[in-house]
């Protein structure tokens, strides 16, 4: 089978205007012309460098990478919005791209009018829109407001209407940029269901997202970009794993500046199962926290508490340990490593609160919101709702009849 899309050595160069303005002024050009030198400081920047891959009909591919990795540039080139500087792409199917929902929506026009305008901008024929209008209206769920100007719609309603139109495109290749990052959970579910349907019907989907959970649920293949180059091209699970372990920042360990206390927390950091320091985890990984304290006191009975905090600071769960359990590293320095089980803490962002105290008495040291961590969804039951605040724990429940 021939690939439906052949990306061959694609590179894209941007000229960055150092002054900040994206456009030129005629004055600069004229000045340059006479003085023979460049007054405007410009710098070349390669958003994509020598990128090649093939996509076969029916593939559903997730493109991941951090901001600035070149994902958006790749999508723009594939959707013909901008042209590559070098290389070429051979396409054997009609491409529709959704880099934004509701492209061309006009606030002064009514919902119905916008269906036609947006539909035709997306490449639908008028006859196709007329044929599918009932289904579009039905999908959008805004039938009551169809004759109302779009400016009176809530942003949620606009989004529903926009996605309803987009869902009725029938290209061979569909390119989707993070359009699902918005909207309420129910609607997101509907959209993802629709995308699953599209990919099952044998059409090809390219999907860019930060929501790794959705990528692993929806795609059969994932491509990881970094600095405009292809780093990984494999199953979503293995690419996401690689991404998490290699492309996240390794900072954020806590180191105390205060050494005057008799007992204090010297440092703390989070580790993965392989004992590598990281602040980024996936749902089915254990989370380890390593705490090092200095104890130059002779006080007995001092305890350590470690609390997981939500990103807003609430206490989610706390454990308390005796200092006797610590490993003595010499020179009054002690270390403890605590392992939290995998598959319980819901994908979200968290931090830690650590205290050294005497029960019902003195608090020797207390730090809050340290060692921030992020747990990514790599296919939990709740993956569809990633980004929605649905709670902090996913428990292994049963449906009992």
């Amino acid at each position: 089978m021939k690939p439906i899309l052949e990306v061959k050595n694609i590179s894209k160069k941007y000229r960055i205007n150092k002054e900040g303005a994206g456009y030129l002024s005629l004055r600069d050009t004229i000045t340059d012309l006479f003085t023979g030198k460049k007054t405007s400081k410009k710098e070349d920047f390669w958003a994509l460098k020598d990128l090649s891959f093939d996509i076969y009909p029916g593939d559903s591919i997730g493109i991941i990478g951090r901001n600035g990795a070149g994902k958006s540039t790749l999508l723009k080139i594939l959707s013909k919005i901008t042209s590559p500087t070098e290389g070429k792409i051979i396409s054997r199917g009609r491409i529709s791209s959704l880099l934004e929902v509701g492209t061309g929506f006009h606030p002064e026009l009514t919902g119905r009018e916008n269906i036609f305008l947006n539909g035709s901008i997306l490449g639908l024929k008028k006859s196709e829109i007329v044929k599918q209008i009932d289904s579009i209206i039905d999908f959008s769920g805004v039938e009551k407001f169809l004759e109302t100007q779009l400016k009176h719609y809530s942003s949620g309603m606009q989004l529903r209407l926009a996605f309803a139109v987009a869902a009725h495109l029938e290209p061979e290749i569909l390119i989707i940029d993070e359009v699902l990052a918005v909207g309420d959970a129910e609607f997101q579910k509907k959209c993802i269901g629709k995308m699953g349907e599209i990919s099952k019907s044998g059409r090809t989907i390219l999907f860019v997202s930060h929501q790794l959970g959705i990528v692993s649920q929806l795609c059969k293949r994932a491509i990881l970009l970094n600095n405009g180059a292809l780093v990984q091209d494999n199953t979503p699970a293995s690419v996401i794993d690689f991404y998490i372990n290699n492309h996240q920042s390794k900072e954020d360990q806590y180191i105390s500046e205060n050494s005057s206390k008799e007992i204090y927390i010297r440092s703390a950091r989070t580790l993965n199962e392989k004992n590598e320091q990281t602040n980024s985890f996936v749902f089915d990984q254990k989370i380890l926290i390593e705490i090092i304290i200095k104890n130059s006191s002779v006080a007995r009975g001092v305890k350590l508490s470690c609390t997981i905090q939500s990103k807003t600071g609430e206490y989610l769960t706390t454990l308390i340990e005796d200092l006797e359990k610590f490993e003595n590293l010499g020179e009054d320095i002690y270390k403890i490593k605590i392992e939290y089980p995998a598959k319980i803490i819901a994908p979200n962002s968290y931090a830690f609160r650590i205290a050294l105290f005497f029960p019902h008495g003195k608090v020797y040291d207390l730090v809050e919101m340290i060692c921030p961590i992020k747990i990514q969804d790599n296919g939990s039951n709740m993956a569809l709702f990633e980004g929605v605040d649905y709670g902090n724990f996913i428990l292994d429940y049963k449906v009992v009849n």
């Binding site: 021939k2 439906i4 941007y14 994206g22 456009y23 030129l24 002024s25 005629l26 004055r27 050009t29 009909p57 723009k76 080139i77 594939l78 959707s79 013909k80 919005i81 901008t82 042209s83 590559p84 500087t85 070098e86 290389g87 070429k88 792409i89 051979i90 396409s91 054997r92 199917g93 009609r94 791209s97 880099l99 934004e100 492209t103 061309g104 006009h106 002064e108 026009l109 009018e113 036609f116 305008l117 035709s120 901008i121 997306l122 490449g123 024929k125 008028k126 100007q149 061979e172 044998g202």
Partner: protein
């Protein structure tokens, strides 16, 4: 089955820019988008106005009245034997396409930047649709012109309806070329945004709208004026109304000039096209 057939049928390349061809077949494929963009602009233009489409006729009508009073009555500008209102309106009709068409299409690429950055379609549709709005307005202005002729008791000779499409084509071609050119330059250099009203203001006096071209005596001056294709267009309209013959050399100059402007417009537009999304 059909999927596979499609795969065989559709095959295209996305390559670095440099293709200057117009790609008419693609434009034809997107023909409905011309309609939708024009329709959108017309709808939006009159949506929040109390008088609505009445503005289309009100504006040229008031201009005609003011011109008739000042230039016709007070300054006694010659009008080739026509009633001055009919004379000035026959020029204003075309002039309005030029001035509003140039304003709309010159600004169109910048004002549609958010769409250009998010989706592909042949970019030429944008300035052309903006111009089509002005052509649509012309239909109403023309009806007003017929009404005006009836009121002042001027019977329009049949030959006018032969000259009209010619003049109209010349006007549209000129406006298209200049509008497309400016819309592309505007994306690159925002300076051009300020030149458009200026161009329109100046050319109103360089174009025989309020005066007949016959006040220019020297042949060379006539040829020079004919470089402005709008001169040719309005002369055609007037020659249709009076029984004067058309000077063929100035007409050819105007036609050639319009053609050069149009080709230049397309070339510059095509050259900038691939980078619109990066610049806008």
């Amino acid at each position: 089955m059909s999927e596979i057939e499609n795969l065989e049928r559709i095959e295209y390349e996305i390559k670095p820019a440099g293709n200057l061809s117009l790609n008419l077949s693609e434009l034809w494929q997107y023909k409905e988008l011309f309609y939708f963009f024009t329709w959108r602009d017309i709808k939006v233009k009159y949506k929040q106005t109390y008088l609505g489409v009445a503005w289309v006729v009100l504006q040229p009508f008031i201009t005609m009245v003011v011109f008739s009073v000042f230039f016709g009555k007070l300054l006694k500008v010659p009008s080739m034997g026509l009633p001055y209102p009919v004379f000035v309106f026959s020029g204003l009709m075309f002039w309005n396409i030029f001035s509003s068409g140039l304003t709309n299409s010159g600004d169109s690429m910048v004002s549609n930047a958010n769409i250009i950055k998010k989706i592909y379609f042949p970019r030429l549709i944008i300035p052309v649709s903006a111009l089509l709005v002005s052509v649509f307005d012309f239909v109403f202005t023309f009806i007003l012109f017929i009404g005006l002729a009836l009121i002042v008791g001027f019977s329009i000779p049949l030959r006018f309806f032969v000259f009209l499409p010619l003049g109209l084509s010349l006007t549209i071609l000129t406006t298209f070329g200049l509008g497309t050119l400016l819309s592309a330059l505007n994306v690159k250099y925002r300076d051009f945004r300020y030149t458009i009203p200026f161009i329109i203001q100046l050319t109103l006096f360089l174009t025989p709208v309020i005066y007949p071209v016959s006040i220019i005596k020297s042949n060379w001056a006539k040829y020079f004026f004919a470089l402005n294709p709008m001169t040719g267009a309005i002369n055609l309209s007037r020659a249709g109304l009076t029984s004067t013959s058309v000077d063929i050399i100035p007409l050819l100059i105007s036609g050639g000039s319009a053609l050069i402007i149009a080709v230049l417009g397309i070339l510059i537009f095509k050259k900038t096209e691939a980078y619109f999304a990066d610049l806008a």
